[in-house]
């Protein structure tokens, strides 16, 4: 216990003791311990020494080389106000120049970033953040509590269109408590606040952002290690290393993000012929091709990202829970995983919480029962079958459509005639939260409760299913206040159960994620949320 230190040198939070007991008894694993103690402000270095994980976490065999240009293939989309972005690709661009209060690494562990420490109150309602006094904007201004207050207040303003408004709905007050300190006061205890502050919509923009036109590429002030050199939608974005960066300087001299269209086969062709160094994403369709290419390294991870085929609970015929249940019962989640994603992933339980998320509670999955599905449909008045339409946009690739086609066959067995309305990806996003039955890709969130908070809380900005339940909201509030990983997952049981009972969605499986880099790229880790920080990456000399 004595080895454990907080980043702020203040006393440990009382819950740390419980965590220590649990990791000693084996009730939680060491990674969960690191993660939960980091939320409470415990220094990761001290916690890993304590848990005996040093070697594992900090192994490094090669000495990084500075210099070089990394070429990264990804779509270059419109980018104006970071808090409004709904594309992670866009966030990977500004992540080079804009920084966050905290940093969540590829292992889901929260580290200090612009905030060098944080201390929660006993009830987890009052959080004191200590900002790094070295942090400086690229225009020479110091990074101050005013910047933090400006950002958070803008997220939660009454007319805010940002998804942060839902995610930070518990925030009551943000105030300056010193030259470099900020206090965030919440209406209810939230244990994972530091982790949430690394969501892709939460970068810190300069306090004059709105005054300067609220258009980041036009006025790219940032605190980060790189500077935006040029930006053209649909073509490319170039970042160069900043000599006057306040923190540890980056290795790369330049990063070129190149738009090669949406076709991953073309990206792989470019990678194979040495035109680029990293491809942002590849799907199962390209897996064999990737493995067959001799000069690339394939990365694979199991993040908590998934396809959600959600039904709007207030739209006909999905307003009848029997119809929604029938669809869940007729769906064959295992077949969708095996056929559409060739078994590369984990089966889902229609509740949008992944077994890889620490707060997951293993609910009894819905077992397929076509006869019962038929009976339920007959009961709901659809004796002669039901005609429905699923809208999708293949936003992540053709496997979305493949999954839907398997579902189509599954449902046909129960007399449900499913029509697929396949839109071009860019036409799906404008309607994603409007269609009665839609297939939406949800990106990884470190905790299941974070996703559920965004997607299923009554009246939430991203609540595409229009699901509204007071019990659900209350159960979710309860779960989000718990620090103890074991207790937290127990608290999630009720949350997941309500969601499953209401049959809001078919969420068939958790697909593995793939990407590929050229052989010379070093230290590129597949971050589960696709939040790539490029300052640690370097290129080996050929």
């Amino acid at each position: 216990m004595k080895d454990l230190k907080t980043n702020s040198d203040r006393p440990l939070h009382s819950s740390v003791k419980d965590l220590v007991e649990q990791v000693r008894s084996g009730a939680i694993d060491r990674r969960s311990f690191l993660r939960a103690s980091a939320w409470l402000g415990v220094s990761v270095a001290s916690a890993s020494v304590f848990a005996g994980m040093k070697g594992e976490a900090f192994a490094q065999t090669e000495t990084p080389v500075d210099g070089g240009t990394l070429r990264f293939a990804c779509q270059i989309q419109e980018l104006t106000d970071p808090m409004l972005s709904s594309w992670i690709e866009a966030s990977n661009l500004y992540r080079n120049s804009l920084e966050f209060l905290t940093y969540v690494d590829a292992d889901n562990i929260t580290h200090p970033y612009l905030a060098k420490s944080w201390t929660p109150s006993e009830d987890l309602k009052v959080w004191d953040f200590e900002l790094d006094e070295r942090a400086k904007w690229s225009n020479g201004d110091a990074f101050t509590p005013e910047d933090v207050i400006f950002n958070i207040e803008r997220w939660i303003a009454p007319d805010s269109q940002s998804s942060n408004k839902t995610a930070f709905s518990a925030v009551e007050k943000v105030e300056k408590t010193g030259d470099h300190s900020v206090r965030i006061t919440l209406s209810r205890g939230v244990s994972s606040l530091p982790e949430q502050l690394y969501s892709y919509t939460c970068p810190m923009v300069h306090r004059n952002f709105v005054k300067d036109g609220a258009n980041w590429p036009a006025n790219p002030i940032g605190t980060g290690p790189f500077k935006l050199e040029s930006f053209e939608v649909g073509r490319q974005a170039v970042f160069t290393k900043r000599a006057d960066y306040w923190g540890t300087p980056a290795h790369l001299d330049e990063i070129h993000y190149i738009d090669m269209g949406t076709d991953v086969t073309t990206h792989l062709a470019a990678l194979a012929s040495g035109q680029i160094d990293v491809i942002y994403r590849a799907s199962i369709a390209e897996y064999d091709l990737m493995k067959s290419l001799p000069n690339i390294q394939v990365l694979k991870a199991n993040p908590a990202h998934t396809l959600v085929m959600r039904m709007q609970v207030d739209a006909k015929p999905f307003d009848d829970v029997r119809v929604r249940k029938a669809i869940q019962l007729a769906a064959d989640n295992k077949q969708m995983l095996d056929v559409a994603y060739r078994g590369e992933g984990v089966i889902g339980a229609n509740v949008h919480v992944s077994p890889t998320q620490p707060d997951y509670f293993p609910l009894e999955p819905v077992t397929r029962d076509v006869e019962r599905a038929k009976a339920l449909l007959a009961e709901a008045g659809y004796k002669d079958g039901l005609d429905i339409e699923l809208t999708l946009g293949n936003t992540q690739g053709k496997w979305e459509q493949d999954t839907a086609q398997v579902l189509q066959q599954n449902l046909a067995e129960a007399g449900i005639r499913l029509k697929l309305n396949v839109l071009p990806a860019s036409q799906y996003w404008p309607v994603w939260d409007k269609v009665p039955f839609g297939l939406t890709y949800w990106a990884h969130r470190p905790l299941g409760s974070m996703t559920l908070d965004l997607a299923y809380r009554s009246g939430g900005a991203w609540n595409e299913s229009h699901f509204a339940s007071k019990e659900f909201d209350a159960a979710l509030d309860k779960a989000m206040a718990v620090v103890d990983p074991a207790k937290r997952s127990e608290a999630m049981r009720e949350v997941e159960q309500i969601l499953q009972d209401n049959a809001v969605m078919v969420q068939a499986y958790w697909p593995s994620r793939f990407c590929a880099t050229s052989m010379k790229v070093r230290n590129y880790k597949l971050h589960p949320a696709d939040y790539f920080r490029m300052d640690g990456i370097w290129l080996a000399q050929a």
Binding site: E232, G234, T266, A270, I276, A425, S426
Partner: protein, 319 residues
Amino acid sequence: MTLILFIVRKLGGAAAAMLTVSFLVYMALEVNVEDVAVKVLGQFSTDAQRAAWLTANGYDDPFLIRYGRWLWSFVSGNWGESTYYRAPVIDLVPDRLAASGLLAGGALLVMVPVGLFAGLLAGMRPGSLIDRAVSLLSIVTTSIPDFASAVFLSAVFVFWLNWLPGASTMLSGFSFSEMVLPVLVLAFYSTGYLARVTRASMVEVMGTHYVRTARLKGASPARIVWRHALRNALITPVTVIMLQLPWLLSGVIVVEVFYAYKGFGTLLYDAALNSDIRLVEACAMVSVLVVVATQILSDIAYGWLNPRVSLLEAAMGSK
């Protein structure tokens, strides 16, 4: 003088055609205004914001007034703002068009010599082995769609042999190796077509009485072809080459999308997929302009090669 009259008349016709096209395009894309505001303001905008934007941008006016205003600003060089690229449309189009022109130029550079030579060779001796080989080859290549040849050429030269780059973004400047595959795919189809047309034209010319007369007079075959047949045999192929330009504009879409080439084809494709209305309008207008321009050029070339047709006659459209 005739040439000037001819060009004036042709330009008049082209202007009228462009006017009609502009009306059709504008009607198709902007009769329904509801989507326009959503596209411009994004998915997170509120109904009130959209209504305000529509009013501020004159979308409450009757259709014909809006059309007139749009046409005027289009003619005066204000093509509106692209909702996808967030840039003035007029800044986007010329570069992309030039890039596609480069691609089409490359395709022509392959297609014209190869197609003409193969066609002439085959047409000189109909029924010979060369003729049969050329005919068969050209009919096979014209039967393979662009996308199929793109898939095969990529599979062989990029993934299997590893000789050529697989994407042609050209973002770090012109690269010859990146041009090879897109040009080959474009030329693959057109070359066969040109060879077929040239062959047919050559066969016909070789059968005309003056060539037969020349042959009876004992002129050498080379002389016959060079002095008598060639010029006449080229009339149709040259027209075909000119008319291939609009076809290349179509072919360019598939090829550019496939190779991520940043040309006019991908511009139109992205604009269409993103319902970037102003950009689609501009692309449609520009592509029609290109077609109309090549038609005028091909008429001039036709008249130049075939002195029997007077340009004036062609200009008056007597037939």
